[in-house]
């Protein structure tokens, strides 16, 4: 029984992390039809910015409890600076191109940003373990978990619920859904589609950066941090259905639980099983579990 509880808790914590890391990718795909490899760069940027900002905060002897605000600010600021630059400076000229070509462009940007990160932060690892231990731990049965993990779960719940509310309950959300269905007609009706794209890209990237910033205290922040996130986020959003918000949540839960099950019972298949589920879903329901029927083209 206790073992099952451990599997569940591990699974949920991992799922929360996956959701925060991946939900921005599904948002960006849903609105802009961009499969965004740069997403991994924003995760890494967030982690570096979080590590150095929280590190500086603690080094100055400011109240350690507020280092969480520093992490939050780091994720927000880095995305606000870099994402608009990329969207306005490059991506907006490419929207007419094929989906696959845009994917390649984001791949090129990913390569560029990998090195930009190295130029800014150097190649030595950053550690900021303090925020991780600060909150103590909570118990599940006889197992104890750092309470910090609950921050990630909270972040996942807040971002998921917030996005769902925004999409379904607000005027902006209604306009955004119109843009998703038909950018041209929306534009003709006076919706500023360009601005929606800019905001979507920035906000989606911000979620990745926040995921990175709040992961920073739990890992050593090293170059290449975002590489794995790219392919894991792909797995999550593809399982749920590219562009679907509930899909991303479901995908994160499935991957989280499957991984924690395999770690507890069959550690040899840990990585294999994630991508196996991804391939299986693609094979059976190519557009993911939460997908609408696609109107045939031509």
């Amino acid at each position: 029984m206790e073992h099952i509880a451990a599997v569940l808790v591990d699974g949920i914590i991992y799922a929360a992390w996956l959701f925060v890391a991946a939900v921005g990718m599904t948002l960006i795909y849903g609105v802009m039809k961009i499969v965004n490899i740069t997403h991994g760069s924003f995760y890494a940027l967030g982690a570096y910015a979080g590590a150095s900002m929280a590190g500086a905060w603690l080094a100055r002897g400011y109240p350690p409890m507020l280092s969480y605000a520093a992490l939050l600010a780091a994720g927000v600021v880095v995305a606000l600076v870099v994402a608009p630059l990329i969207e306005r400076g490059l991506l907006r000229f490419m929207y007419a191109k094929d989906e696959v070509v845009i994917l390649l462009i984001t791949y090129a940007l990913f390569l560029v940003l990998e090195d930009v990160i190295k130029l800014v932060w150097g190649v030595d690892p950053y550690f900021i373990a303090e925020p991780y231990g600060l909150l103590g731990s909570f118990e599940v049965g006889s197992l104890s978990y750092p309470t910090y993990n609950l921050i990630l779960v909270g972040l996942a719940l807040v971002s998921g619920a917030g996005l769902a509310w925004m999409l379904n309950r607000t005027r902006t959300g209604k306009l955004l859904r119109a843009v998703i269905h038909d950018p041209q007609v929306s534009s003709a009706m006076g919706v500023n589609v360009d601005r929606f794209y800019l905001v979507t890209f920035t906000f989606g990237s911000m979620l990745a950066a926040l995921g990175g910033a709040f992961t920073a205290p739990t890992v050593s922040v090293v170059p290449g941090l975002g590489v794995e996130v790219v392919v894991l986020s792909f797995a999550v959003v593809v399982i749920g259905g590219l562009g679907s918000l509930p899909g991303a949540a479901l995908g994160a839960l499935i991957v989280g639980l499957v991984r924690s099950l395999s770690i507890h019972y069959l550690p040899q298949v840990e990585l294999f099983v994630i991508y196996f589920v991804m391939a299986l879903v693609l094979a059976v329901r190519p557009r993911g579990l939460f997908s609408l029927a696609e109107a045939r083209k031509i």
Binding site: I105, Y107, D115
Partner: protein, 314 residues
Amino acid sequence: MKLDRTQLALIAILVAVAAGGPFLPKWALFLLTIAVAKGLVALGLMLLLRAGLVSFGQALYYCLGAYAAGGIGRAFGISDIFVQMLTGAVVAAFFAWLFGFLLARYRGIFFGLLSLALSMILYGLIVKNEALGSTDGINVLPSTLFGIRPGEATLRYAVALAAVGVAVLAALLVHRYMNTPQGQLAPAIKDNEIRVEYMGASVQQAIHVMYVIAAALAGIGGALAATAVGHIDPDMAYWTSSGEFIFITILAGTGSAIAPFLGAVIFGIIHTVAYDVSPNTWQLTLGLSLLVVIVFLPEGLWSLFKRRAARKAA
């Protein structure tokens, strides 16, 4: 038999490498071998790209070829470079034939994502498998040619020559294939699949065939890389190495069977020079050159040659 320009150029390259090879330093021969190995993968990707398909998981077959080559060395002590390449090709082609039934139904982004998932499955399998060397990988025996083990001095030359020989042969065959009726379906599939079906051709079958050819080429490439480096590890199947192959293919363009090798050599040069000059910015250089090519030369570097040829004709 009258040879066209591509065939002549390929044969000229082979002769040039055979004649010039002994005078090249060892590192250059090594770079050439690796470039040829990657060029073979890109040659396969080019076939798929002509049909509008981008495989984000070609590293699957590269890695399979490498592990097949390493495997026969471990299991049977076979280290003949031609047997290694053949085994790599056969193993890769077999799996591609299997997966092809599924993948040939996919287009666009979903083709890429499914092939990515398949390659990551292989990565996950190897990484956690002690028998396959886990993350450390395994060593590969030094190559032999037809049972002869060349001395240290001539080994690099022999391997490079074998690599270029096989690559030229592959490029000649692909060049021929592209001019067969089925090979010429590829651009038509890219333009409008439904019209191709109306003409009575099977799109799925054509894609399946191209996919198997591409995988076999990647398998040869993987086996070559394995024997040239002398070591294989699961990173060969990781998505970043698939990305590298796509990089080469896009850089080169789909203009000719020679283009992927040109792309691979340029990639090797950027990699080596940029890494040498500034190890922390070589990816930046790669990324920027990819951007420049996508934006300004959507048909790849090869289109530079074509444009000149067209201007001459005018």
